[in-house]
């Protein structure tokens, strides 16, 4: 099954791009988007690799369903935090540089 291979490749590239986004982008909302892309890439690899080797594997489907729910919980929580942070400070990215003592 070669079409699974295509999705595996896409998954690997998504992992790379998502990781780059998570590490390099400062805007919190964009970083969260990148986190979701990274997650999608991992899920594609998790399902695609066994699918390429053995054919459809229901165990991986169950794992990815679990993973998606965990990811959406984390995303929703992060959005609540980001919005509240913006509300209190007007910032959409975390400050860098030396930590001054407050």
């Amino acid at each position: 099954m070669t079409s699974a291979l295509l999705y595996v490749l896409a998954g690997a590239l998504l992992c790379g791009g998502g990781l780059a986004g998570c590490l390099l982008v400062r805007h919190l909302l964009r970083r969260l988007l990148a986190f979701n892309l990274l997650g999608s890439g991992v899920f594609l690899l998790l399902v695609g690799l066994p699918a390429h080797r053995h054919g459809s594997d229901p165990v991986t489907h169950a794992l990815v369903l679990t993973g998606i729910v965990v990811a959406v919980a984390a995303t929703a929580l992060a959005l609540v935090l980001i919005r509240r942070y913006f509300h209190l400070t007007g910032r959409v990215s975390l400050p860098t540089g030396r930590q001054e003592d407050r």
Partner: protein, 488 residues
């Protein structure tokens, strides 16, 4: 009997989380005390059972791995379960008195606290790679929730930093799991370990990426930047839980995966890299602790340093004789236990001191030695263990690590142990010096209730006494694990 113990151990924290969510702060506090006693009794009973009968596998739902999820209940796991019960109960009791019940959001402390406890137990006992992922996420989200409790801007900032670092770490770990599953077709640690008989490039990369993710979650230098703000801003009992137990969970998973896969995959370079990062963490963390103007940040940076020691396990357990590897494992386990006790004691004592002097700064401690000797004493006792002076658990741990590094011919790690101990002495004495400054005659301080002061003292005494009982503790860890399955 032990089947019921296991069920109780898994059920109680989750059930108490539900219960406490439905109750108001004071009622939840009462319920939690009962729950903590119950959990303590269960952990102790399970520990005694394993110490007597040996470890076993527990198949959840009656399904054997690889189809189902098996829990690995061995000496190490039950020791950490017991440690969690001890530190968790101490922090919970302290929090019940320390947190202000009039704030409406404080009621959420209790359900989050229990969820955290459930996640920790799940990780200690886990024998399944994906289950470990879910357990780690449970811990992460509960910990972030505890940090952000109340929702002030600095707490939000620290929590967001923590959340992103931890989430990326988890996904890196999951990616490794995906690659391992694709290669070996199993999710159980044992199954993957059996499959990894010979070196495989994909599995090596999977191991690398998993260790990377877990190192970020365990705040290993240079991925440590999220830790000081998060542990510094949280309320004292929360910081104690996070520093004492939460970071250890990620390290525990890393060590488990490493000991299962590392030898087969010939990943010596990775081990040395982790050792170097750990050494850098010891030096940089201690140096920063020396320079922090705030008391809790001193303690938080000290955590960065102390976690560094743990990662010496990786170079000292790879490509060395079995006996040396065992020594290193024992030393690191003692370091985990003694740091969990000492650091939670230190954070709780620091919380009491902050409560007393009404300021978070180190200079504000002037005069404390005269009017609040007890809290300062607990802080200092915990410091003794961090420095690694006899008879503390920290000393026993470092002694074992020292022997392992000399026996393996890797003497340079011993230098790290020495430098770290000296720097730890410096930052603990800095606090002492500040508190011995003389001030005006009258006592300007708030005196916290005696029970608040006793809890860190007990923990610090345990950390100190650990060195004396190191032998029996280690004997449970070293129990042979036959791998028999518990049949209810």
């Amino acid at each position: 009997m032990s089947s019921l113990l296991m069920a109780g151990l898994l059920f109680t924290p989750l059930a108490w989380a539900v219960l406490c969510l439905l109750l108001a702060f004071r009622a939840a506090r009462l319920a939690s005390v009962i729950g903590m006693l119950l959990q303590m009794a269960l952990s102790l009973a399970l520990w005694a059972w394993v110490a007597e009968q040996g470890g076993f596998f527990y198949h959840l739902g009656g399904w054997a791995p690889p189809l189902g999820i098996g829990l690995r209940v061995d000496g190490l796991a039950v020791t950490f379960v017991l440690l969690t019960a001890l530190v968790g109960a101490a922090c919970g009791l302290h929090a019940g008195l320390y947190l202000d019940p009039s704030r409406p959001w404080q009621r959420y402390f209790w359900p989050l606290f229990w969820m955290l406890w459930a996640g920790l137990n799940a990780v200690w006992l886990a024998g399944d790679l994906f289950n470990l992922y879910v357990g780690l996420e449970l811990i992460t989200l509960a910990a972030v929730g505890l940090v952000v409790l109340g929702g002030a801007a600095p707490a939000l900032e620290a929590a967001l930093r923590y959340l992103f670092a931890a989430l990326i770490g988890s996904l890196a770990y999951l990616l490794g799991v995906a690659l391992l599953y694709a290669e070996f077709g199993s999710l159980s640690l044992v199954g993957v370990g059996e499959g990894a008989g010979s070196a495989s490039p994909a599995a090596s990369f999977a191991l690398l990426i998993m260790l990377f993710g877990l190192a970020v979650k365990a705040a290993l230098f240079p991925g440590h930047t999220w830790l000081p703000p998060a542990h510094g801003i949280a309320r004292a009992p929360v910081s104690a839980l996070l520093s004492g137990l939460v970071v250890k969970a990620a390290f525990y998973v890393a060590a488990r995966v490493w000991l299962e896969l590392g030898p087969a995959l010939e990943a010596a370079v990775v081990g040395v890299l982790l050792g170097v990062a750990g050494s850098a963490a010891v030096c940089w963390g201690s140096w920063q602790a020396l320079r922090q103007p705030q008391l809790k940040l001193v303690v938080a940076w000290s955590s960065v340093a102390q976690i560094g020691y743990l990662f010496l396990l990786f170079p000292l357990s790879h490509g060395v004789p079995e006996a040396v590897s065992l020594q290193a494992q024992q030393g690191v386990t003692l370091q985990v236990i003694s740091h969990a006790l000492a650091k939670s004691a230190m954070f709780l004592a620091a919380g009491n001191l902050i409560l007393s002097v009404r300021s978070k700064r180190v200079e504000a401690l002037a005069g404390v030695s005269r009017y609040l000797p007890l809290s300062l004493f607990s802080f200092g006792l915990a410091g003794v263990s961090l420095m690694g002076m006899p008879p503390s658990g920290g000393f026993a741990a470092k002694w074992l690590l020292l022997q392992a590094s000399l026996a393996s011919g890797q003497w340079w790690w011993a230098a790290v142990l020495l430098v770290g101990g000296l720097l730890a002495a410096a930052y603990v004495f800095r606090i002492y010096r500040a508190s011995f400054q003389e001030v005006e005659e009258s006592d300007p301080f708030y005196h916290p209730p005696r029970s608040l002061e006793i809890i860190p003292l007990v923990l610090a005494l345990l950390a100190l006494g650990l060195g004396l009982v190191a032998e029996p503790v280690l004997s449970v860890l070293g129990l042979p694990f036959g791998g028999e399955v518990l049949s209810p």
